[in-house]
């Protein structure tokens, strides 16, 4: 349910952007959701709908999930995120703070925890149209 807090951040950002761009009515919103954080899409969409505002009345939300990818800074190996391999409490910790991955995951090739999260982190507002 902390999806609610993220949804509130998204709505604030849309409203701020709409004002900056002089849009009275937002009709389209593109959002990217990083896989790493394992956002519950249903709760997230419901939360978004709860922060109604007149300028968002007609907005259609488009969601894209971005696969999580890692790159090792030691051996350059790249790999994908596999949620199934994680214990539930680890998965939950990463759900709240994705960087916690560094405490639990290692490069599958050289065992280093010194890796970059290349993609799939966080929630992003890609664009709005009016």
């Amino acid at each position: 349910m902390h999806e609610w807090a993220l949804a509130e951040a998204v709505v604030s950002t849309i409203l701020k952007l709409a004002e900056e761009e002089g849009l009275k009515d937002v009709v389209g919103v593109k959002i990217k959701i990083g896989e790493l954080q394992q956002i519950d899409r249903e709760i997230f969409e419901f939360a978004l709908s709860q922060f109604q505002s007149s300028s968002l009345r007609n907005a259609k939300f488009n969601f894209e999930t971005v696969k999580a990818k890692f790159k090792c800074r030691v051996c350059s190996h790249q790999w994908n995120f596999e949620a199934e391999n994680l214990e539930e409490d680890v998965s939950e910790a990463i759900h709240f703070i994705p960087e916690i991955a560094h405490s639990y995951m290692r490069c599958p090739k050289c065992e280093s925890p010194d890796f970059e999260i290349l993609a799939g982190r966080g929630v992003w507002l890609e664009s709005i149209t009016g």
Binding site: M1, H2, W4, A5, L6, E8, A9, V10, S12, T13, K16, L17, K32, A93, F96, I97, P98, E99, I100, H102, S103, Y104, P113, D114, I117, R121, G122, V123, W124, L125, E126
Partner: protein, 245 residues
């Protein structure tokens, strides 16, 4: 692509009257002891107080407070559990007692995430235990929290003071409020630090003596407040208007 988290931080902190970053150019000067004990002392005086441990690389306040077996509640964000009267937030809820090998970029991201999702509610004070130095965490506090004030800790040593001088110079040049400077672990009556701080036009709040019995009280808040250290800090918190106002 816009990071929406940055737009909600102000709102998450809106109902906090005063935010105190306990900071220093240097490690080991007593930031964590002072942040924890200051939070406890303010709470015992009847204020609503939160404590946020931002030293992700070497979190210490959970050891000082003896925090065990609590976890934030998830409800429209995360709600810090109440520990010894404090709304208490630390990375240890998520990292446990494992090492957190985080680079600056990760520290910055984790800080922003925590600030964006933590629901502190109404507080009189939020005390933040900062990591040492002028790195990602310090730059992010300056950048993200407009109403922050820095409580700067030094020891009596030239080595510590030189790093603190740089921190103060930076904060001053950016017009970031410095609540004041505390000289911790004093062993002599030397006025070296006090004179230097005053010559930088910064408020010198006072000294706290080296307390040989402090270590025995670590993990036990009631004992901590009863130590000479706890009483000195309590005195400063009651008598230095800069801290409360």
């Amino acid at each position: 692509m816009i990071d929406p988290r940055l737009n909600i931080i102000d709102k998450r902190l809106a109902k906090i009257r005063k935010i105190i970053a306990v900071s220093s150019g240097k490690g080991g000067v007593g930031k964590s002891l002072i942040a924890s004990t200051l939070a406890l002392t303010l709470s015992r005086s009847g204020y609503q107080v939160g404590l946020l441990d931002l030293d992700f690389s070497s979190p210490s306040t959970h050891i000082i407070l003896g925090v065990k077996g609590v976890y934030p509640r998830e409800e429209k964000g995360i709600i810090p559990p109440v520990v010894h009267g404090l709304a208490y937030m630390s990375i240890i809820y998520y990292a446990g007692n494992r090492p957190s090998p985080l680079r600056g970029i990760d520290i910055s991201n984790a800080i922003i995430e925590l600030l964006a999702i933590t629901q502190w509610g109404s507080l009189d004070f939020l005390v933040i235990d900062m990591p040492p130095g002028i790195g990602d965490a310090t730059l992010d506090m300056i950048r993200l929290i407009k109403k922050i004030g820095f409580l700067v800790i030094t020891t009596s040593s030239k080595v510590a003071f030189e790093t603190v001088r740089k921190l103060i110079e930076l904060l001053g040049s950016l017009k970031v409020p410095v609540i004041g400077v505390i000289e911790n672990m004093k062993m002599t009556d030397s006025l070296f630090i006090r004179r230097n701080i005053e010559s930088l036009d910064m408020p010198f709040l006072g000294g706290i003596e080296f307390d040989y019995k402090l270590e025995e009280s670590i993990g036990n808040p009631n004992k901590l407040l009863e130590t000479q250290f706890g009483r000195s800090l309590g005195w400063l918190a009651s008598n230095r208007a800069e801290i409360r106002s």
